[in-house]
């Protein structure tokens, strides 16, 4: 005990500091620092936490990180981005909704605003304001984010899915341009296969590519899972039968058998390895070729999904930004989203992606990114043709359930594996009825 009272000598300084004095000074300093931090975080600067997906193109996330820093500097609001794997988003979103705690802004996948509408703040003022300033919203934007006539999120964009194909192999069989109808596409793909160049549209459980390739084929042939009311199952139709027959023929005559096991990255790998002639994908293949397969970039091009008897359709994953009701920074979150979607920021982000993302505000149809490269120009048109699962009805919880259970994809996969058209449609109808009976 005595020793504690004995003054100690600081090494080399010759000054003496008692232990009590040292403790007193450090405690006061810590308290002052903590108070400062408390004032800054709790009472002073507001903070907005954003939970979003880790983009396939990391450069796009880097732009967001920079923009967050810039926003903090300009507006004094701290922005914190958390990037997670896209497949982990549903679980994280569910946890936040159930526990009433989590990020302020959440990135919602396609039907997310409909699935979580009750947990989200109404953003009519924000969406209407952006629409007014930037030439209005595309129709699909409203389908995605308006629930019961209320904007529940702000559409951030779509990941445009186009036909990606090899121009050299198409030329080899006499095509200088990608065909405009499904029938002609079948002929082209068949001819390419005869030369040993396979096509492939994912038919496995890949939540992106498999659904994005086969919903458009269903709609283009006149098929649909339900009616406009979003409740009545309507899969058993001549249009669906045509679509099933078409996909079976495409699989047998032109596709690589592997498609049944493909996940979202399989067709990218196959294309980059020079093993694939035609597939449905985002511009990520073209983007990756810059680094991984520059020799293929010159012979890769994009095309719109062809027309079927019922017209031209597409389904591209949409992402929206929603604000949780439990957020204590709702106004700050709205301001940040508004800032993020204004041309200076949005064009910088979309520009880096080079076709990986397309805006749903009409203003961005004329964005400089589409003029950067003639091979990206066609992607600009995609939002016009995009519909959401559940079409011609709204994108409901039931349509989302049908999609995550791969009901439509499996209908085509069974047919490709040999099941008859009426049989696979009947099974699909029964699965859809089970889902839609809860509506």
């Amino acid at each position: 005990m005595r020793q504690t009272k004995k003054p100690s000598t600081g090494p080399g300084t010759g000054r003496t500091v008692s232990r009590r004095a040292f403790l007193g000074v450090t405690a006061s300093a810590t308290a002052a620092l903590s108070f400062g931090t408390f004032i800054r975080s709790g009472l002073g600067a507001a903070k907005v936490n954003v939970l979003t997906w880790s983009n396939t193109l990391p450069a796009m996330d880097d732009v967001l990180r920079e923009q967050a820093k810039q926003y903090t500097k300009e507006k004094g609001v701290e922005i914190s981005f958390e990037f997670i794997n896209q497949t982990d988003l549903p679980a994280k979103t569910a946890a936040a909704v159930e526990s009433g705690a989590g990020p302020d802004i959440i990135t919602l996948w396609s039907d997310g605003p409909h699935l979580h509408d009750k947990a989200l703040v109404d953003v009519n003022d924000l969406a209407d304001g952006l629409g007014k300033d930037l030439k209005g919203w595309t129709n699909i934007a409203k389908d995605i984010a308006v629930v019961n006539k209320t904007w529940k999120a702000v559409p951030w964009g779509i990941i445009p899915i186009a036909i990606t194909y090899r121009t050299d192999w198409a030329k080899e069989v006499g095509y200088t341009k990608f065909p405009d109808t499904y029938e002609e596409m079948l002929v082209l793909c068949r001819k390419m296969k005869e030369k040993g160049h396979y096509s492939g549209f994912a038919l496995g459980r890949s939540i992106g590519d498999a659904n994005q390739s086969h919903y458009p084929m269903l709609w283009a042939h006149g098929g649909a899972e339900c009616r406009e009311d979003g409740k009545t199952v309507a899969i058993n139709s001549p249009g669906t039968a045509k679509a099933v027959d078409y996909v079976r023929q495409l699989f047998k005559e032109a596709e690589i058998e592997d498609v049944l096991s493909w996940d979202d990255s399989s067709n990218n790998r196959a294309f980059l390895a020079g093993e694939l002639a035609c597939t449905g994908n985002a511009a990520s293949i073209y983007w990756a070729e810059q680094k991984n397969a520059p020799q293929l970039r010159a012979v890769t091009d994009h095309a719109l999904w062809p027309k079927g008897p019922a017209g031209r359709f597409g389904y591209s994953t949409a992402i929206s930004l929603g604000i949780f009701r439990f957020s204590k920074s709702q106004q700050e979150s709205k301001e940040f989203i508004r800032w993020l979607l204004t041309p200076k920021q949005y064009s910088a982000w979309m520009g880096i992606g080079e076709g990986m993302m397309a805006g749903l505000l009409n203003y961005y149809e004329d964005d400089p990114v589409w003029k950067k490269d003639p091979k990206l120009e066609v992607i600009r048109e995609i939002p016009k043709y995009v519909r959401m699962p559940g079409y011609p009805g709204p994108p409901t919880r039931y349509a989302a359930e049908a999609m995550v259970k791969y009901v439509i994809v499996n209908m085509f996969a069974r047919a490709s594996k040999g099941m008859s058209t009426p049989e696979t449609i009947k099974q699909t109808e029964s699965e859809l009825r089970e889902i839609y009976s809860k509506a």
Binding site: P90, L115, A400
Partner: protein
């Protein structure tokens, strides 16, 4: 010193004296932290899951009590019926394979051999490596285009065209069974090896003296004495495999055409992706009563043994 001094001087509080004097009470006191943790981390989530399965709750909404409606609806759901079948095929095939291969491996490892301890240690690797990482490696090995398994089999002339490991319903089930067996085999082998090492050598010596050969020794000595260990590992493995998620989710996500959809992957899709958590909970709890009966029967058997 302080505690000794404290023990020498009786406490002034009579209730504390009575409490510390009663062994039973002290026992309860000492296990109370563990009970508390089990109540909070196990019992509460379980009871909550049971409650949610009896409601029509969707994400973000409270839902209302619907009794057994979720369970009855599931029985009529063709996809769920397929899931039940897949889960049984997956679980019973893997447990059987793990048991047979585990016994063989344990018998081999029980022999004298060079580097025995090193081999025993290496055996545990599949068990130690994080499942998600090792399964990603398997995913590459079964890749439709770049499968090294196909490459080797084609090279050896075993197959004439590549096998669609994850693209064909039959082979996809075979693939997930192979990976689960690979992953769980060390648990069986090491547990059975521990069991083997407790069997007294004298029994084998006596059997040899009586002229019993290896096969008869295994059948009449090894197997009966290993039975309790086998029962425990089979019980645990059955429960774990029924609840497995990672292997199937990473390899096939339940596909192709729902050929490998099992309870956990279907519950995940329905509850967390489609947002129907009432129904999702019912899927994950569907087998609970049956498993409970199996557990009770096995535990009774073990107690008797």
């Amino acid at each position: 010193m302080a505690s000794i001094a404290h023990a020498e001087r009786p406490s002034g509080l009579p209730w504390l004296r009575r409490f510390t004097a009663s062994e039973a009470l002290t026992g309860y006191f000492l296990i109370s932290p563990a009970v508390f943790l089990m109540a909070v981390l196990l019992a509460y989530p379980f009871v909550l899951a049971v409650w949610i399965s009896l409601t029509d709750r969707v994400l973000g909404e409270p839902g209302k009590f619907v009794g057994l409606a979720n369970f009855l609806k599931l029985l009529q759901d063709s996809l769920f019926r397929q899931t039940v079948w897949n889960s049984f095929v997956y679980t019973f095939s893997t447990v059987l394979l793990k048991m047979v291969l585990g016994v063989i491996l344990a018998l081999i490892l029980n022999q004298q051999m060079p580097c025995r301890n090193l081999i025993r240690g290496a055996l545990l690797l599949p068990w130690i490596v994080p499942t998600s990482l090792s399964v990603l490696t398997w995913l590459w090995m079964f890749d439709s285009l770049f499968s090294i398994v196909n490459y080797i089999l084609l090279g050896l002339g075993v197959i004439s065209r590549k096998v669609q490991w994850l693209g064909d319903p039959f082979w996809a089930m075979v693939s997930v069974i192979i990976v689960n067996t690979w992953r769980g085999l060390p648990f069986f082998a090491v547990s059975l090896l521990a069991g083997l090492m407790t069997i007294p050598k004298e029994l084998y010596e006596a059997a040899e003296t009586d002229g019993a050969r290896a096969g008869r020794q295994f059948w009449h000595i090894t197997l009966p004495l290993l039975q309790p260990v086998i029962a425990v590992v089979v019980l645990f493995s059955t429960i774990w495999t029924f609840a497995d998620f990672q292997i199937v989710y990473i390899l096939t996500h339940g596909g192709p055409i729902n050929a490998t959809q099992i309870f956990a992957t279907m519950a995940y899709d329905v509850a967390l992706v489609a947002g129907r958590i009432g129904e999702g909970s019912a899927i994950s709890l569907f087998l609970f009563p049956a498993l409970l009966v199996v557990i009770i029967l096995l535990l009774r058997y073990l107690r008797r043994e």
